[in-house]
């Protein structure tokens, strides 16, 4: 592969110094003169009718500037399914339902005022189990929600996720072995270091500025514009400014009640209003990865060739609908396209319950589906008497393949990933001993070249170059800690022939930055990177054009390297870039160098059958784990962790490894200890004491192996890597545990208690 000057280098994050010295400005740090503090009163019940809300005492409290309830605000409907409102009137459907909100001159007064609000409820029967909620006669979460052919009230959402390719019954008939299992996954939450928050401010003409830490500036701007219309402020503008984002992981892919509440409070008080979540609110009032029940069957021939995959899922949607209800669109990807499977069927139902409502979380459904698929692959391999390594190699995807969902596989390093893991784990040597130590592996497919889930999958870039050669890149992309700014700067520096420190990336303001669909689907390096590269190419053409005039050489013969323009033919003809730029600027009919590019990848929306080439290219990977299980306590100790990823090309190997480490650490948490525990709808562990994430001491050494397949569509060959790092983690660990002690845990997290119970069950058999 070609060697580059800036691309492929371990360059520290551009904002690293700000972050480690505490100088980065997060939403928590932002203050605006005259700002008020908003606070939210949540429901005391999982399901109840609101009979009366008495806010009189709160209104009387000195320092309180406004008290809002669902009864004194305009109707604003939002969310993917338009079933959510900022403040609830009539009834509450979960503990996190917002019932009232206060704006006050300081946070303590706001909190005191909240406690003075009296709400009378009439309790309604709740339902917390999605399978119960689907039954006839179950309590209805939204009485006016109709579904099915007869348009009857139902808790089942009208989103019929169904993918059929080939004929699974035929596939089943042709199978020598069939495995059928039920897997369960539960709620886990993002645990962003920075909690959610925003500041809303209106100008005297009713235009809104909102300071936010969203991952989707353009779509959020659109949501808030709609809200202004609902408030009677048609035609007013929304400007969204991002603070430094303290982690997102999918949690900030939507707009939430608290943001609309801040907007309503700001409009009511005519003052800027800030709402910041406490850590406890961050746990119970933001949306986790959803709980799901997964019934899966897969079959294979005697030689291990996969014959079919048939998956049914019930997803606990919670009481309202965020993008979590669309995760089946991504679950389809591994179900249809991880390994070669001729016959595939997938049916999923999203069901309203009185639980917290779910959202996207790194992997967007893929980790849940992959847990079931890859755990069962091991079971199937065992039935067929084949080493799971050989089983995977036999069925591995290959370049040029078109999958049942009509994904066009371009570059594909899956085999290389599997081989790398097997080699690093000394697989043949260590597998199958059942002596308390074991090895396991699992693979992944994910979108690696954008994902057309919206009408556009595009991102715009504007580049301007000043008189001294400083390159300002104004991108639609969002840096939420992953290092997008740094990677974009590297790509632009490489394309233009300038140094990375000459490139300044701006991404924070919708009044300045071009449109982008959002930092999701591991798409930023690929889409924003391509966009930046193309814009830089246009800028370079202009630079060479103006340089050709001052150097007397045709542009085709000119090159820029390390801030110098020179002729490839006549080395005597050269000039510093700044000089060329100034000459072009300070002349009659002067010219400033700037260009824009909007890159929308050539991928396809899924059609009505949920088929189509969703991504320009696909990312692959395999994780391998060696574990030791203490049979007396059920505790799992990870001895070795190998993460091999086909990344196309590592634009910045250091940041890429960071993504893999972070993903794997989150994945290990998902596998072994993380769980948002809901007891009758109430989150009972809204703190880091009892919501267990890994500490630094718990994270094993993760060995990241980079397989570079140099994708022809990627910027300098790169594919996405944001999400893949946690997709195969849980099944790799589950498979290693099985290899160690012969018990298979099919519901997450795999706690010591579950392992011990399973061991006892095995002994008594």
């Amino acid at each position: 592969m070609t060697e580059f000057i800036n691309v492929g280098k371990r360059i520290p994050k551009s904002d690293a110094q700000e972050k480690v010295t505490g100088k980065a400005i997060y939403i928590q740090d932002l203050k605006i003169p005259g700002m008020l503090w908003g606070k939210i009163l949540y429901s005391h019940h999982p399901h109840a009718r609101i009979l009366n809300i008495d806010t009189s005492e709160a209104e009387k409290l000195p320092g309180v500037k406004a008290v809002l309830t669902g009864y004194n605000i305009p109707t604003i409907k939002f969310g993917f399914y338009k079933d959510n409102t900022p403040l609830k009137s009539n009834k509450v459907c979960s503990y996190r339902d917002e019932v009232a909100a206060v704006a006050a001159i300081d946070p303590d007064i706001a909190e005191e005022a909240i406690n003075l609000i009296k709400v009378e409820y009439e309790l309604l029967p709740p339902v917390f189990d999605p399978e119960e909620a689907m039954k006839e006669g179950a309590p209805l979460i939204h009485e006016d929600h109709l579904g099915g052919k007869e348009k009857k009230p139902t808790n089942i959402l009208n989103i019929p996720w169904k993918l059929v390719a080939g004929d699974v019954e035929e596939g089943r008939k042709n199978s020598d072995y069939v495995a059928e299992n039920r897997f369960k996954v539960t709620w886990v939450t993002h645990c962003c270091m920075g909690t959610s928050g925003c500041i809303a401010q209106f100008d005297p003409r009713d235009n809104l500025t909102i300071y936010s830490n969203t991952q989707i500036p353009s779509l959020a701007q659109r949501d808030f514009t709609e809200a202004l219309s609902a408030m009677g402020l048609q035609g007013k503008k929304v400007r969204l400014i991002k603070a430094t984002i303290g982690g997102a992981f999918g949690s900030k892919l939507d707009t939430y009640p608290y943001e609309y509440i801040a907007i309503l409070l700001a409009h009511r008080t005519r003052k800027p209003v800030k709402i910041i979540f406490s850590r406890e609110e961050e746990f119970f009032a933001t949306s986790p990865r959803q709980a799901a029940i997964i019934d899966i069957a897969q079959g294979c021939k005697k030689d291990g060739t996969l014959t079919f995959r048939d998956v049914r899922m019930v997803l606990d949607n919670g009481a309202y609908t965020s993008w979590g209800a669309t995760t089946p669109s991504v679950m389809m990807m591994p179900i249809s396209s991880l390994y070669k499977v001729p016959h595939v069927r997938y049916v999923a139902k999203c069901v309203y319950t009185n639980n917290t409502y779910s959202q996207a979380f790194r992997g967007y459904g893929n980790p849940q589906a992959t847990f079931a698929i890859e755990s069962q692959i091991d079971s199937l391999a065992e039935m067929a008497g084949i080493d799971p390594l050989d089983f995977r190699l036999r069925n591995a995807n290959t370049p040029g393949e078109v999958t049942p969902q009509r994904f066009k596989v371009g570059t594909c390093g899956l085999r290389e990933c599997i081989d790398a893991v097997a080699q690093r784990l000394d697989w043949r040597q260590n597998r199958g001993k059942r002596d308390g130590r074991g090895v396991g592996m699992a693979s992944l497919i994910h979108v690696g070249g954008g994902a057309r889930v919206y009408k556009s999958d595009g991102c715009g870039t504007i580049i301007k170059v000043d008189d001294f050669g400083t390159v300002n890149v104004i991108t639609g992309a969002t840096d939420m800690g992953q290092g997008a700014d740094t990677v974009i700067a590297q790509i632009v520096a490489e394309e233009l022939g300038v140094r990375i420190q000459d490139v300044v990336v701006t991404h924070t303001d919708t009044d300045i930055c071009p449109w982008d669909v959002g930092a999701h689907a591991s798409r930023t390096t690929f889409v924003a990177g391509n966009s930046a590269k193309m814009a830089a190419k246009k800028v370079k053409e202009q630079l060479l054009e103006v340089a050709s005039r001052s150097l007397g050489e045709v542009p085709e013969n000119l090159e820029i390297r390390d801030r110098m323009v020179f002729s490839k033919i006549d080395p005597e003809k050269k000039s510093p870039l700044g000089k060329v730029l100034r000459a072009a600027h300070y002349t009659t009919g002067g010219k400033m160098v700037m260009a824009e590019y909007f890159y929308d990848p050539p991928n396809e929306n899924l059609d009505k059958e949920f088929k189509g080439n969703l991504s320009v290219t696909y990312a692959y990977g395999t994780h391998g784990v060696e574990v030791e299980v203490d049979k007396t306590t059920g505790q799992v100790n990870i001895l070795k962790y190998i993460a091999a990823h086909d990344v196309g090309r590592a634009v910045n190997p250091m940041l890429l490894e960071g993504q893999v480490y972070g993903g794997a650490a989150m994945g290990i948490g998902y596998a072994l200890m993380e769980q948002l525990v809901l007891n009758n709808g109430k989150v009972i562990n809204p703190d880091f004491r009892d919501y267990k994430i890994l500490t630094a001491s718990d994270i094993p050494t993760i060995e990241a192996i980079t397989i570079e397949t140099d994708d022809p569509f990627g910027p300098f060959g790169a594919k996405g890597i944001g999400e893949p790092g946690l997709v195969p983690t849980a099944p790799a660990i589950a498979n290693a545990i099985y290899d160690a002690i012969g018990v298979r845990i099919k519901d997450l997290p795999i706690t010591p208690e579950k392992i011990l119970a399973a061991l006892k069950g095995k002994d008594s058999k």
């Binding site: 303590d108 007396t632 306590t633 505790q635 200890m673 525990v677 009972i684 562990n685 880091f688 004491r689 009892d690 267990k692 890994l694 500490t695 630094a696 001491s697 718990d698 706690t751 010591p752 208690e753 011990l756």
Partner: protein, 284 residues
């Protein structure tokens, strides 16, 4: 969080007089790693916190025979004290497992005991060392065994106007060896699901276990000694059978609850496992 006043007296006498003056409205605060969290969660709501920080005579680790540890000594100081590491290694070890370094830098031994959590990190080691606590009030001073200090979750024998001044440790008999085991869900920053301390005194000639002390945490309303299990091994040459029996006995003597951290069944099971393991470790 309810608002509160904060007083920082200069002497123990002043503390006692403030306690006398404010009664139930006041609460003592050491490092604050428990008290402030509880205040935030509205589990306690005093009008006034009286700080013990900086008060002379509460932050010592001293004594040749009888070791005295001031109530305001931090877990970090205990963890790093060569004296404690050498003479009371189980306490040293347990202190080093509490929370994080940042927490250990402020959290005090007295605070850990007065919070009286059933899973208190330092309690099982102190119980096997048969620690005593020295309490003081305007009425006078008293010394009671730590075992009778714990009355229930969050409840101690400390009277309203009384202060825990120091913790007293008699050196264990010669030829004593022990082990402290903590079972948590992760390797740091975790509360014990079960914690166990064992201290055995073995006759070097006969190998007979002359004295056994076994204490458990997180499996009863308070940290407990399990004499029933101690009795099984005391006076005996230890073998697999006896060790298993002691574990079994401990398992049946405790009374764990189910909570978010573990089920009562799992806790009980783990008591057996950990007691056995701790006895074996003490022997090696």
């Amino acid at each position: 969080m309810k608002k509160f006043d904060y007083l920082k007296p200069q002497s123990l006498e002043e503390v006692l007089s403030l306690l006398n003056q404010f009664g139930t409205k006041a609460k003592l605060i050491g490092g604050g790693t428990d008290a402030i969290v509880m205040q935030r969660q509205n589990k306690i709501s005093p009008d006034l916190f009286i700080s013990l920080r900086g008060i002379p005579g509460l932050d010592h680790i001293e004594g040749n025979g009888l070791l005295k540890i001031g109530a305001m000594v931090t877990h970090r100081a205990i963890e790093q004290s060569p004296l404690i590491r050498e003479r009371f290694p189980l306490l040293s070890e347990a202190s080093g497992l509490l929370g994080s370094v940042q927490i250990r830098n402020v959290a005090t031994l007295g605070g850990n005991l007065c919070t009286a959590s059933p899973s208190a990190e330092t309690a099982p080691p102190l119980l096997v060392y048969e620690a005593e606590v020295h309490l003081i009030s305007q009425k006078g001073e008293r010394r009671i065994p730590l075992e009778s200090f714990f009355l229930g979750p969050g409840e101690t024998a400390l009277e309203q106007k009384e202060v825990l001044k120091e913790i007293l440790l008699q050196p264990p008999p010669p030829n004593s060896r022990g082990a402290y085991l903590k079972l948590g869900r992760r390797k740091a920053m975790d509360l014990a699901v079960v914690n166990v301390a064992v201290l055995l005194t073995l006759n070097p000639k006969t190998g007979i276990c002359e004295r056994a002390r076994i204490a458990l945490g997180a499996v009863a309303p308070t940290p407990i000694r399990v004499r029933e299990a101690e009795n099984i091994i005391e006076g005996n040459q230890l073998n697999d059978e006896l060790i298993r029996k002691a574990g079994e006995m401990a398992k049946h003597t405790c009374s764990p609850i189910s909570d978010i951290r573990a089920s009562s069944e799992y806790r009980r099971e783990m008591v057996g496992v950990l007691v056995e393991k701790a006895i074996r470790q003490s022997l090696t």
